[in-house]
Symmetry: C2
Subunit: 502 residues, 2 copies
C-alpha cells in the first residue's frame, strides 16, 4: 500500500466535501429557477441528504487527526498552510455543534420557512411566532456551543462576518443612524413627493433583458463561465470558478429593477469568477466574510451603476433599445431617478440613504432577542416603533413590517449587519481606488470597467480566504473598517444631487 501524505488525504476529502456542497448549490439554483412546483418535497429530501453527507464527511472525528498530522507535515507551501488554517477554523466551529442540534435546527428551519411564507401571505405574525421563538432558542443554544466572550450574538455574527463583534458594530451603527437620519430629513425637506413622470411607461422586458446582458458583458462577467436566468428573488450562486450563476427579475413597470439587480448580482459574480484558478474547489476560493462579498455587489450597483458617468455612457444605447421612450430624458434625469431618496417600509427597495437604517433596526432587534432583552411576541411593536423612529413611517401590517425578510425564518441571526458592512467596505475601497486610478470616472464614462475590475481582482478577489475582511480592507485602503468613507461618499453625492450644503 502506498502511503498518502496527510495533507493530500485531507485535501482529497475536502474536495469531496466541496463537491457535495456544489451539488447542493446546483439543486438549490434549479429549485429557484426551473423546478416545477410539485418537485419541492423531493428536492428538500435530496438537499437534506447532500448536506448530511457533506457534514458527516467534514466533521468526522478522524478529520481532527488528519488535520493535526497535516499541519505537522514538512515542506508545506504557504498556500497549503493557509488552506489548513481555514479548514481548521471551519472544523473547530463545525465540530463544536453536535449532530443532534444540526438536525433539530434543520427541522425547525424547514417548519419555520413554511410558516413564515403563510404568515407573510396572510400578514399574521401569530402563525410565525412559535417558530421564531424556537429558532431564537436554537440560536442561543448554538451560541453556547460555539462560545463567546461578550454576548451570544457575537457567536452568531462570526458565522457571517468573521472577527466582527457587537461591541465594534454598536458605535459605528450609532454614528451611521444619526448622520443618515439627518441626511434623509434634510433631503425630505427639499425633495418632491413624486417620482419622475417619464418612469411611468411600459418597458419591454425582452429589451430590459438585453440591456442587463449588455451591461454585464461590459462589466467583465464571463458568460462562458456563467449565465443569467430569471427568478422571483435575484441571487448569485456558483458551482465552481467557471460556473457562476446569477438571476434577475423583470417587471414591465420598472425601468431600474432588472438592471440594478443584474449589476448587483454581477458584482457578486465577478468576485466568484475572480478567485485563483489554483484555489478551485478549496476553501481558499471563497470570500472571508459576507460583508466583503456584499462590498462587491454594492460597489458595482450603487457606486458605479448609480453614477452620472454610467448613465451618460448608456443613454444612447437605452434610447436605441426603447425607441421614442427616452427622447426627452437626459443622463441627469436618469441619474436623479436612479438615486431618488424616499423612505420606504421595504428594505430591498430602500435607497442608499435609508438602507443602513433598515439594517440597524434589525441589528438592534436581533441583539435584544438573542440576549433575552426582547421577547419574540414583542417584535411587531418594537419593529413598528423603530420604523417610526428611523424612517418616520407607520407600518400598516406585519407583512410590510417584521415579516418582510426571509432571514429569520432560516434562523440566520447575525446576517443583516453584513449588508451595512458591505456599504462601508465598498466606500472605503472606492476612496482608495479613486486615488489609485486617476482616470477612473472617465473610464466608467466610456463604459470601460477594466481598470476597476483589475483593481478589485488584485486587492480583493484573488486573495480569496487567505486574509480576513479586516485585513483585506486594511491592506487595500490603509485604514480599519469604519463609517467615515461611506458617510463622506453619501453626503457628498446627495448634497450635489439635492443641492444641500454641509
Amino acid at each position: 500500500m502506498t502511503h498518502i501524505p496527510p495533507f493530500e488525504e485531507l485535501h482529497t476529502r475536502m474536495l469531496d466535501v466541496g463537491n457535495l456542497h456544489a451539488a447542493a448549490a446546483v439543486l438549490e439554483w434549479d429549485q429557484e429557477v426551473y423546478m416545477p412546483s410539485a418537485g419541492g418535497p423531493a428536492r428538500g429530501r435530496q438537499l437534506a441528504t447532500l448536506n448530511a453527507q457533506a457534514h458527516a464527511l467534514f466533521a468526522a472525528p478522524e478529520v481532527a487527526d488528519l488535520l493535526g498530522h497535516a499541519q505537522e507535515q514538512a515542506g508545506l507551501t504557504p498556500d497549503q498552510a493557509a488552506l489548513l488554517e481555514e479548514i481548521a477554523y471551519d472544523y473547530a466551529r463545525a465540530s463544536r455543534i453536535p449532530g443532534s442540534l444540526i438536525r433539530r435546527f434543520s427541522k425547525a428551519r424547514s417548519a419555520a420557512y413554511q410558516a413564515w411564507l403563510e404568515a407573510r401571505g396572510r400578514s399574521d405574525f401569530a402563525l410565525f411566532l412559535p417558530h421564531l421563538k424556537a429558532l431564537i432558542e436554537l440560536c442561543r443554544e448554538k451560541a453556547e456551543c460555539l462560545g463567546y466572550e461578550d454576548t451570544p450574538y457575537d457567536a452568531l455574527l462570526e458565522d457571517y462576518e468573521r472577527g466582527m463583534t457587537t461591541a465594534r458594530l454598536k458605535p459605528v451603527f450609532e454614528l451611521l443612524a444619526r448622520r443618515q437620519s439627518d441626511l434623509v430629513a434634510r433631503i425630505g425637506r427639499v425633495s418632491g413627493k413624486e417620482a419622475a413622470p417619464w418612469l411611468r411607461q411600459r418597458w419591454d422586458t425582452a429589451r430590459q433583458w438585453e440591456f442587463t446582458e449588455f451591461v454585464l458583458r461590459d462589466m467583465g462577467f464571463d458568460f462562458k463561465a456563467g449565465r443569467q436566468d430569471r427568478s422571483a428573488h435575484p441571487f448569485t450562486t456558483n458551482f465552481s470558478i467557471h460556473d457562476v450563476r446569477i438571476t434577475t427579475r423583470l417587471s414591465e413597470d420598472d425601468f431600474f429593477s432588472a438592471l440594478f439587480s443584474s449589476v448587483h448580482e454581477g458584482g457578486h459574480a465577478l468576485y466568484e469568477q475572480g478567485f485563483r484558478e489554483e484555489d478551485e474547489g478549496t476553501l481558499l476560493a471563497s470570500a472571508p466574510s459576507l460583508g466583503i462579498h456584499e462590498s462587491q455587489s454594492r460597489l458595482w450597483e450603487n457606486v458605479i451603476g448609480r453614477s452620472l458617468p454610467f448613465w451618460r455612457h448608456y443613454l444612447p444605447a437605452l434610447r436605441a433599445l426603447y425607441p421614442g421612450q427616452l427622447d426627452r430624458v437626459d443622463a441627469e434625469d436618469l441619474f436623479k431617478a436612479a438615486n431618488r431618496v424616499s423612505p420606504s417600509l421595504i428594505r430591498v427597495e430602500a435607497d442608499e440613504c435609508t438602507y443602513n437604517l433598515h439594517i440597524i433596526l434589525r441589528f438592534e432587534l436581533e441583539v435584544a432577542l438573542i440576549e433575552g432583552k426582547l421577547e419574540a411576541e414583542d417584535v411587531p411593536s418594537a419593529w413598528n416603533e423603530k420604523i417610526k423612529h428611523y424612517l418616520g413611517l407607520e407600518v400598516p401590517n406585519d407583512a410590510m413590517g417584521c415579516l418582510q425578510d426571509i432571514h429569520w425564518s432560516h434562523g440566520s441571526f447575525g446576517y443583516f449587519p453584513t449588508y451595512a458592512l458591505g456599504n462601508l467596505y465598498a466606500a472605503q475601497l472606492l476612496a482608495t481606488m479613486q486615488r489609485d486610478i486617476p482616470g477612473l470616472w472617465e473610464e466608467i464614462g466610456r463604459g470601460a470597467f477594466g481598470a476597476c475590475l483589475d483593481w478589485l481582482r488584485e486587492k480583493v478577489h484573488r486573495i480569496g480566504r487567505r486574509k480576513t475582511a479586516v485585513e483585506i480592507i486594511r491592506e487595500a485602503t490603509g485604514a480599519d473598517t469604519g463609517p467615515d468613507a461611506f458617510l463622506d461618499y453619501l453626503e457628498s453625492k446627495y448634497a450635489s444631487l439635492y443641492n444641500l450644503h454641509f
Copy 2:
C-alpha cells in the same frame, strides 16, 4: 437507544442512495441544458464524488447483513418484500464488481468519451480505437465478475434488459432482419426518391415549441410535475415522480423533429410520472428494463404520433399555427410524410421499417467484440459491410458509420438491443390495448389519450419494478416477448401506406 428494525434502517439508507442518484441526475440535466461551457471539468468532478458516495453507501459490506436481517424480519408487507428483493438483486450485482474496476471503468469512460467526440468530429476511427479496445477489455472483465452461463455478452445485457439472453435475441433478430429487409426492399421499388415538397419550408421554432407543449398536455404530461427544455440531444430524466424533465431539439428546417422527439420523450416521461406515490424514492419507482421504458416512448411516438387519426386531429391546430403554410396539405399528406421509408446511414434518423436493422447490426458487432470473435480495429469494415448488407448503402466515412453513436464511448455494450425490444413490446401492448379499448382510434382521432394512458398506467406504469419485463408483457398481453405483433403492425401499416400486397 431505540432499536431501529433492519428493514427501516436499510430503507432509510437506500433513500439516501436514491437522493444522491437524483442529485447526480439534476447535475447531468443541467450539464446538457443550461451549464456554461467552461463549467464542464468541475461538473465532472462533482458527478464523480456523488457517484462514489452513492456507491460507497450502497455497496458497503454492512448492507449485506442489513439485507439478511431485513429479509428475516416478521410482518413485512408484500411491497416491502418486493422492495427487498430488488435491493438484493442490485446489491448482488454491485457487490460483485470491485471498487478498483469501477474506478478504472469510470476513468476509461471519461477518456473514451473525449476521444470519441474528437474522433467523430474528425471522422478518424484511429483516435477512438485504443479507447474502444480498453472499454471492451473492461466490459469482458466486468462480465467475468458478474458471471454468465452462455456468453459474456449476457452478463452485460442483464444490466439493461434483465433476464434477456443472447440466445433468445438471436432468432428474434434474424426473423426481424429478414422480414424488415424484405419490406424495405418492396417499399423501395414503389416509393419516390424525394420527400414531399411542402416540407421544404421554414417552420417557426416558437410555433414548433408551442405545438409540442400542446400535444404533451393532451398526452397527459403534467407540467406542474415536470418541464420541457431544449438540448442538442433529446432525453428524459427524473428527480422524483413529481419532477420529470424532458428535452427536445428545434430546427427551423424540420417539421417533424421537435414534435416526434417531444412525443417520444413524453412517452418516457408519462411512465416516470406514473409510478405509485408510495413507491417514491425507492427502487420500485423505476422500470424493470430499458426495453420496457423504450416501449412507452415508441408506442407514443410511432404508434400514436405517426398514425392517421393523430394527424387528422391536429391538422386544424397546425394550420392555425402556421398560417398559409399547410393550406394544400391534408391529414393523409402529413401521415405519409411522417412515415416515409428511406434507408439512411444514421440510426436516430431511421424510420420504423429500417430502425431495427440498425440495432441488429450493432448487436451482431457487440456480441462478436465481447466474445473476441471480432477485433476492435476491424469494426469500421465490419460496420460498412453490414450497412451494405442490411440497408444497401455505402458508408462514406466513419463519422456517419461506426462513430455515430455515443454508447460505446460510455462502455455501454448491451444497451442497443433494448431499442428493438422497445419496438416489439410496444406492438404487443398495442395489440392488446386495441382489444381492451374498442374505441381507441376514435378517441385518438379526437385528441383524447386518456383511455390509452389509463391502460398503460394500469398494465405497465404502476407496476414499477414489481415485475420483470417478461412478466409485464406476459400479464398484459397473455403472450411471451416475440416479434410477431411488431411484424404484423409494421407490415399492415406500410402495406396500406405503400399499397403493397402480402
